[in-house]
Subunit: 206 residues, 2 copies
DNA sequence: ATCAAGTCTGTAACTTGTTCTACATTAGCG
DNA sequence: CGCTAATGTAGAACAAGTTACAGACTTGAT
């Protein structure tokens, strides 16, 4: 009588044993490490397996594709970044300024590891339907970071729309930067431009 | 003495003979055809070569990678679309409305061949630096379409920024739709939201 | 402690993008 | 016309993602 509501299948994912958790961690670490070196192409499944002391088949059991692996790597890094960003909240006067400031801070972090950024962002936008849940998770996390920066408890639907558009711009601007089609300065402008949308959407000052 | 300024290397690309032009066309056609069936994965270089009656090596001479091929396919389709869109200019009162209307029209066209859209957009965002010139060309063409829709001869720098952000949103929104993470309705909202940026940037009524 | 079920490992095979090679064809030119 | 360089062809070979499989190791329940 202890089945709590196993609606679809897994309770998100079977709880991992300690060793399994350690393996998972080693894999993600190896992935980030290789990505930092040479970007997307340098993350080769055989190498990841070797670096993390795991058989290739096991790697695929943990992450069913290279894209899954890199998206998971991004989740991991994003959480880390969210933690870092939280520590020093942005100081702008308007919500738009604060969001822009936060995104620029994140952008500078990415610039420190451009290859890693390349691997993660390319994987994210290349992901097909089979990775939707994971990509969605990344998206939610990003939304959280932006809402945090806005500093508003209950955003209006309009503001949420603005946040969606900001995320779109953020991802796409990153891509143009990574592929060398836009400068850092240009990305900054794009971010600042789109952030104006936030102030457009009448902030419910109460 | 007739060297006109062959600065780097090619005068863009050596002029193609008739047969070469025909080959190129066959290849692009086969590419679009295969893409329409099964999207990115269905465009297999061997199949494209066979369908277009060209040796694999030749295919690679014309398009140095699958990504190049698909981006070229997109260029081709975009030109077609621009022609179509030109015929019936959008009817909205404001520039923002007209741009949104135009993009939604393009979106509906993509919906008719979702697999083709998948192949083209995935290639576009996955492209690395080696494809920058071609991707840039696509970007310029898109900008043109949007400026056309705005119906303004000389846009302000601010408006150009808005256009950049609109393009970012357009690409990213397409991706979320293609990967099943956003509905058609949601894409519509995102487009409409970002288009408001145009009206923000004081239109120089003269 | 023992057994069954589930995990891992090592390794080979398969797929598809990409490169290479040896030979045939074509195009432009004297 | 006849030559030469460029282009095209067929097919093998290679690289990296992915899958398959046989045998060892863990784990959890009894």
């Amino acid at each position: 009588m202890d089945k709590v509501a196993a609606s679809t299948a897994r309770p998100v994912t079977a709880p991992l044993t300690e060793r399994q958790e350690a393996r998972r961690r080693r894999i993600l670490h190896a992935s980030a490490q290789l990505a930092s070196r040479g970007g997307f192409d340098a993350v080769q499944m055989r190498e990841v397996a070797e670096s993390s002391q795991v058989a290739l088949g096991t790697l695929y059991r943990y992450f069913p594709s290279k894209i899954h692996l890199l998206v998971a790597t991004m989740q991991d890094q994003l959480e880390r970044m969210h933690g870092t960003l939280r520590k020093k909240p942005p100081e702008g006067d308007t919500a738009a300024e604060r969001v822009a400031e936060t995104l620029m801070r994140a952008f500078r972090a990415l610039q420190r590891e451009p290859h890693l950024a390349d691997a993660m962002v390319r994987a994210l936008t290349f992901a097909d339907r089979s990775v939707s849940p994971e990509v969605d998770q990344v998206s939610r996390q990003t939304t959280l970071i932006i809402l945090d920066a806005m500093g508003q408890e209950n955003p209006t639907p309009e503001q949420l729309s603005a946040v969606r558009v900001i995320e779109h711009t953020w991802h796409s601007a990153l891509i143009t930067w990574l592929s060398g089609r836009a400068s850092i300065a240009q990305v900054k402008i794009d971010i600042e431009t789109v952030c104006r949308l936030i102030d457009l959407t009448a902030p419910p000052q109460e």
